[in-house]
Symmetry: C2
Subunit: 102 residues, 2 copies
């Protein structure tokens, strides 16, 4: 079954749009790496907190994607704009609409 | 921009599969109601906790879907199997891969 990841991060004041741009810049290329869905959202109650929801063919493919030079560069450039407040949750995705496995 | 909702709920012991089946039973019909993605996952660290991630064209369409008789029936039948431990988070979805708006 597919692997899901929900992560949140908070940006330093005024840095949100820049971090969003970094997060979105690589999204289109993820499909070829085994990613079925990668969505970036802003928390309605705290728009400096971003939530990324991801669905991957497997945890292995997700983890491998983070080792690519592009991913490491993106993380390195975003990190100084974040407050360090992170949350994460891993899921076994059991089904639904829009996981691109239909 | 699209509306996102991430909700979690915990099932009573032994009731998880039944609740998952209820959650998934209506998923295919949601697309016609303005839903772009509706995924059901099990928390890896606590598989009796389910996480539903949803992307809708608007909050209005999401809220309207909950007023349909089918949705009310599904909620009523699942509710006795839940512990009452819920979380929810609302998002403004800014983009990514797989929101069916590309």
């Amino acid at each position: 079954m597919a692997y899901g990841y929900i992560g949140s991060m908070k940006t330093q004041p005024g840095k949100r749009d820049e971090v969003v741009a970094i997060l979105l810049s690589g999204a289109a290329s993820l499909e070829a790496l085994g990613c079925r869905s990668y969505l970036v959202g802003l928390d309605i109650e705290d728009p400096d907190t971003m939530v990324v929801t991801e669905v991957w063919e497997s945890k292995e493919r997700h983890d491998a994607s983070l080792q690519l030079p592009e991913a490491k560069e993106a993380i390195a450039s975003a990190m100084p704009m974040l407050t360090g407040e992170f949350t994460s949750r891993e899921l076994v995705v059991v089904g639904g609409l829009g996981d691109n496995d239909e």
